[in-house]
Symmetry: C2
Subunit: 161 residues, 2 copies
Amino acid sequence: MPNDRMSGRPGPTLRSQILLYGLLGGGLIALLRLIEYRWLVLDHSIEIYGGLIAALFAGLGVWLGLRLTRPRETVVVREVVVEGGAAFVRNDAEVEAMGLTPRELEMLELVAVGLSNREIAARAFVSENTVKTHLSRVFDKLGASRRTQAVQRARQLRLIA
Amino acid sequence: MPNDRMSGRPGPTLRSQILLYGLLGGGLIALLRLIEYRWLVLDHSIEIYGGLIAALFAGLGVWLGLRLTRPRETVVVREVVVEGGAAFVRNDAEVEAMGLTPRELEMLELVAVGLSNREIAARAFVSENTVKTHLSRVFDKLGASRRTQAVQRARQLRLIA
DNA sequence: CCCGAAATCATCCCTTCGGGTGACGCGCGG
DNA sequence: CCGCGCGTCACCCGAAGGGATGATTTCGGG
């Protein structure tokens, strides 16, 4: 099951921040004018004035931009697959190596689900004797002498589920 | 295996951007002065002037801040667990429900690995007859009539690996 | 102290399984 | 055409497995 998390913080609303900065800006301008009338009666006061405002608001803008964006900077998508279906995949290479024919593998599978030779014969539409010969060959190829042993071997080699 | 990706883009260097914005600011101030000398000979031109600069640089700052931060805004951590060992855990509740005794479960496990009654007897230091009685009870409790069937049932109920 | 669950072993009987051997038909490739 | 692998079936025999029943011991709880 995927698990997503996104960081977010409460803090002041956007509306109140705009209001605050507006007032701050107004106050700043008034302050600057006052300063100018006091002791900034220079020729190029206009450049200094503009430069100050520019620098201040640029910094403010950067800070504001950062602050507004920050909550989005850690979008973490964590995807964890827990014990999926893990569908069985037959190890065909091993089947080949063991020299098992399709029919033999089929019989082996039926043995694995706990059927008797008689039941297997019925399900595969062949005689019980045929099942026995097939299984004999299977046991021989897998090096098993009992059906439970054959099933165990086949499972280890991923021949059957 | 975890797989991390972080978006990044080439673009202009920070140094060249600062230079660019500095020149832009200088040019802007010159432009504003020119405009003022042409037709902005008002009483409150100083407020308009400052406001314009403030607004422009604030916007510039916001844009700059956003631009600098943007590359970090998509940090995606994708963690995928690929069907690990998935160690076997016995379903003890089911064992209880089946009424299997420890000894019976032990015998069942030995059957599952393909051993004959004789081999099981040797491994558990009991007589073959004992193994048979234990297994008889197991088959009875699991509703099985053959050892392969019992193994299959036990596997489904997660009584054995 | 007795009961009952669990573990142990045994004996009888029948079924199932596994090994060995032989045989027949079919299709494919040398 | 012949050989070979595959699938099919049959018979025999001994070993293994499974069902039923009974007996003994040990241990823990009522």
